[in-house]
């Protein structure tokens, strides 16, 4: 696929990196040559210096035969204009824009074919905020990913001594909770993946991925480990785009303290937030943390745009006794280094948000893609079309489907109903099927399997 990316900022470059690895032709446009040079050094792609909203620049970047335009510059306006140009002048098939302003997003008619012609709008900060809010809602979980607009969830949790299931085979799960349907999609033990069977015995320290209807998450979690008290006190360091949105999302239900270094931003934040205590100071200042009782905090989130600061303040908070600490870390090398150590959750913004873009790049009708275990595994939500003849999945029982080894169907969402992927479930057209893929190399095969044969059209 030929893809044109406008903007080589954090989003632009991580997207480029991820797409290059999936064998696409990428061109990146940015007005800052230094950023482009950095990209070019690392990745196999073409770069172009220029203004992303000028037709001449777009033409030079080869927009005429581009399959997909990704406008992810800093400016909502430039992104919207670029989509409009791509549609009006060059008829680019798919146009995706990063739109951050709620003012624009609250008027979806702006994005239709008569106006700015944006097919899909994405907002990485919003995705990240929702992701962190879920982690705060379920403090035991390592990852909570949602499918079908939140109806079903994939949850990662580390099994601990004290959970009723630990030390027992998986088949006990159903006996313990006869009314709740959940399915264990994968177990990672000392980094090696296991394909779960009814007889697999859960061990202390296993990382377990299970799929369940969102309302049942808490009950399933309690099987894997002793439950903590629900979170009440949250401390956020960094009042940037993510910190602000998170505080806004949490301040009604939690006691939120937000630490920001820049005094001007503090004043602005304090004006916008109604229920959050805004503190002016350094998140790595142990005196300030002490003074604000960091030891009593349930969830501590270090969300500045400086990796080292985030790591340090998260470590300080953990040291002082914060129950769960989350650090935002951009460099993937750091993430691997820290995850599961003293820092409970090392969040890579790129990994969290890339899924929302990948869904548009993939073949077949993919509604959602979530990267798991730092990109090694993947969970996909595929929408199946066609009939028994044109599709390899419709009208078949799950155990009849020829899935590659290591891929499992976790659940099927049919209308408002969430059906677990037991072997006797028959797939129907328009079902949303959630597939868990242990190894990313198998993704292509899975996509192919779910595609409708040409005869359908």
């Amino acid at each position: 696929m030929k893809i044109l990316i406008l903007g080589a900022g954090q989003v632009g470059s991580t997207v480029a990196e991820s797409l290059v690895s999936e064998a696409n032709d990428i061109t990146v446009v940015d007005s800052d040559g230094a950023k482009l040079a950095l990209l070019q050094e690392r990745l196999d792609l073409r770069t172009l210096i220029g203004s992303a909203s000028h037709p001449s620049v777009l033409e030079q970047a080869g927009i005429v035969d581009t399959d997909m335009l990704l406008a992810v510059t800093q400016s909502d306006e430039i992104n919207m204009v670029a989509c409009k140009l791509a549609y009006s002048l060059y008829n680019t098939p798919t146009r995706i824009a990063r739109i951050r302003s709620v003012d624009f997003l609250s008027r979806p008619e702006l994005f239709n074919k008569d106006n700015f012609c944006v097919d899909y709008s994405i907002c990485p900060e919003q995705i990240l905020t929702e992701y962190i809010s879920k982690l705060i809602e379920f403090p035991e979980a390592l990852q909570v990913l949602q499918f079908s607009r939140g109806k079903a969830s994939l949850v990662a949790v580390r099994a601990f001594e004290g959970g009723p299931l630990v030390g027992k085979p998986l088949s006990v799960l159903h006996d313990n909770m006869p009314h709740i349907d959940a399915r264990v999609a994968a177990i990672f033990r000392k980094d090696g993946p296991l394909i779960p069977e009814g007889s697999t015995v859960v061990e202390d320290g296993d990382e377990i991925f299970f799929i369940a209807a969102t309302r049942n998450i808490r009950s399933v979690l309690s099987e894997m480990r002793r439950m903590d008290k629900p979170s009440r006190r949250v401390m956020i360091v960094g009042g940037g785009n993510i910190g602000r949105r998170l505080a806004q999302a949490l301040e009604r239900d939690y006691q939120v303290k937000l630490i920001e270094y820049n005094k001007k931003s503090c004043e602005k934040l304090a004006g916008e937030l109604t229920n959050t205590l805004v503190l002016n100071g350094d998140g790595t200042d142990e005196k300030l943390l002490q003074q604000e009782n960091v030891g009593e905090v349930d969830v501590f989130c270090a969300l500045t745009n400086d990796d080292e600061n985030n790591i340090m303040s998260a470590l300080l908070a953990k040291q002082a006794g914060a129950r769960k600490v989350i650090a935002l870390i951009n460099r993937s090398a750091y993430v691997d280094l820290l995850q599961g150590g003293k820092i409970d959750i090392a969040l890579s913004p790129a990994q969290v948000t890339i899924g929302s873009l990948l869904a548009y790049v993939r073949q077949g009708d993919v509604a959602a893609v979530h990267s798991l275990r730092r990109g090694a595994a993947e969970a996909l939500e595929m929408i199946v079309h066609g009939d028994r003849k044109s599709s390899k999945v419709v009208g078949r029982r799950i155990d009849e489907i020829d899935l590659p080894k290591g891929a499992t169907i976790g659940a099927v969402v049919r209308g408002d109903e969430v059906v677990m992927g037991h072997r006797d479930v028959i797939i129907e057209a328009e079902d949303h099927v959630i597939v868990f893929v242990i190894n990313k190399a198998m993704v292509k095969k899975v996509e192919k399997l779910f595609q409708v044969k040409l005869g359908f059209f």
């Binding site: 503090c266 004006g271 109604t274 205590l277 805004v278 503190l279 300030l288």
Partner: protein
């Protein structure tokens, strides 16, 4: 000197316009066929026009744009000169009335205080009652707003006046781009609600004269009545209920009314935090005081207690001051609480006086901020009201206002005490006058009136009404040497 003359020029023009206000009492005298009164009012009208016209003609070469400094001077000049000329018909019709008392009466009207020195109100010619109430009504929205709507048409800029009239922290959001347009709109809303009030009062059983007069009193939150017994004369729960509703409407910001009318949505009231606080505080006080009076046995059952408590509490809290019973005879907690409410309750941009709810909110929140600051020294905790950040400079000016307010109350109370008045009467008279509420307690309570005061005491109260109406700063700034320095 040129500055003063420019102000006199504008003032002259204002007086000429003001003489039109005599049309109402003149019409009333015509209807009642009272020829001597008619003549007196016509004389007064001509004199007013002549004085104003004369001032304008003599100083016409100084006609000019009014600066902010001029604005303060003009506002104070208006609020002292207009009551002075408005005394003319009273002095002509009631030859026994002294100028001091007449000036108190007209000042009380134009500042919407409603305190009166007259007795035998029921026997006054209808034209005189209409005149008193009309003064109150005109004062209500502030003749100033009328002036702001009209003066710019005559080529004199008016935005500065608006600023001088309302130094409160509120309403940075102009309602319409042009000040003239804003003033006209506010005035139309005021007129509209007044007409509704007249109709409602007529419907629940008042005659036209009473309905018009009491609608004027309720809308301007003045306490003038056409009866010595005030609303107690009617002894009608329906009339009390109607007046309560309109007094509460008048105690809210008229800008909110205007936005609600323009937006055709009642929901906009929910955004007016100040108005909601006003209503909430009044509601709690009504129920609380009713319960208190019932408990103390002042009234035999709760419903009777609620009826009397709610009307008088609403009336005092909104700085209206109409009364349905002599509440100064209630156990002292109740009238004291009502006086306290009269200091803090009404919204800015309403026709009431006192500290205003917005300043009360600022004060309360400031106290909260101090606590937060002690517990969290690093906290950035801006003052917010209704989601809007209030700048620290505004908080300081509010604190300054409150300080001046209490100093004024203390000083004027001492002045009355020196003159020999008892403490309760002195203190309550100052509070009632500076808040433009009307009746106080003791000798100036709902059953008595300000006629018993000596000339000196009357002047002190007149001054209290003036500074209270013009938000203290506006008047006192004229007494600072800096004001007169070039």
């Amino acid at each position: 000197m040129g500055r003063a003359l420019t102000v006199i020029n504008a003032l002259g023009l204002m007086l000429v316009v003001f003489s039109i206000a005599y049309v109402m009492p003149v019409a009333s005298a015509l209807i009642s066929g009272d020829m001597p009164v008619l003549l007196d009012f016509l004389t007064a009208m001509l004199w007013t026009a002549a004085i104003g016209g004369g001032m304008w003609m003599v100083t016409r070469s100084y006609k000019g744009e009014i600066s902010i400094r001029h604005g303060y001077l003009l506002v104070v000049a208006m609020w002292t000169a207009m009551p002075a000329v408005a005394t003319l018909p009273l002095l002509l019709v009631l030859p026994d009335l002294s100028f001091t008392d007449a000036y108190f009466e007209t000042m009380s009207g134009l500042t919407t205080t409603g305190a009166t020195v007259l007795t035998g109100l029921d026997l006054l010619p209808p034209a005189v009652n209409i005149w008193r109430h009309e003064l109150s009504w005109l004062g209500g929205m502030g003749i100033i707003v009328l002036a702001v709507a009209v003066l710019p048409l005559l080529g004199i800029g008016g935005r500065q006046l608006f600023k001088a009239e309302t130094p409160g922290p509120m309403k940075n959001a102009a309602l319409t781009p042009r000040i003239t347009e804003t003033a006209r709109n506010l005035w139309l809303v005021y007129l509209g609600i007044t007409i509704a009030c007249i109709a409602a009062l007529k419907w629940v059983g008042m005659n036209w004269l009473d309905a018009i007069c009491h609608a004027f009193a309720a809308m301007s939150l003045g306490a003038f009545s056409t009866h010595d017994a005030s609303i107690g004369y009617f002894n009608s729960p329906a009339i009390e209920a109607v007046l309560m509703v309109f007094m509460l409407l008048a105690a809210m910001n008229f800008a909110t009314h205007f936005m609600a009318v323009r937006g055709k949505s009642i929901k906009l009231y929910l955004l007016d935090v100040e108005g909601l606080s006003t209503l909430g505080l009044v509601l709690i006080s009504c129920i609380g005081i009713a319960g208190f009076l019932w408990w103390k046995g002042t009234y035999p059952d709760f419903l009777t207690a609620l009826r009397y408590a709610s009307f008088n509490v609403v009336s005092m809290a909104t700085d209206s001051g109409l009364s349905s019973t002599n509440f100064s005879l209630w156990p002292i907690f109740a009238p004291m609480w009502m006086l306290f409410l009269s200091c803090i309750t009404v919204s800015s941009g309403s026709t009431g006086g006192g500290i205003k709810m917005i300043r009360t909110l600022v004060l309360v929140k400031q106290a909260g901020r101090e606590f937060v600051k002690l517990l969290h020294p690093a906290a950035i905790n801006p003052m917010k009201i209704g989601g809007q950040v209030i700048a620290n400079s505004v908080v300081f000016s509010v604190l300054g206002f409150i300080f001046l307010y209490f100093m004024s109350v203390a000083t004027l109370t001492f002045a009355l005490l020196i003159s020999g008045l008892d403490f309760i009467s002195a203190f309550s008279a100052v509070i009632a006058c500076i808040n433009n509420a009307g009746p106080g307690l003791g000798v100036v309570g709902p059953a008595g009136n300000y006629g018993v005061l000596t000339d000196f005491q009357t002047w002190v109260c007149t001054f209290a009404m003036l500074i209270g109406r013009l938000e203290i700063f506006t008047v006192l700034i004229l007494f600072t040497p800096q004001f007169w320095k070039r």
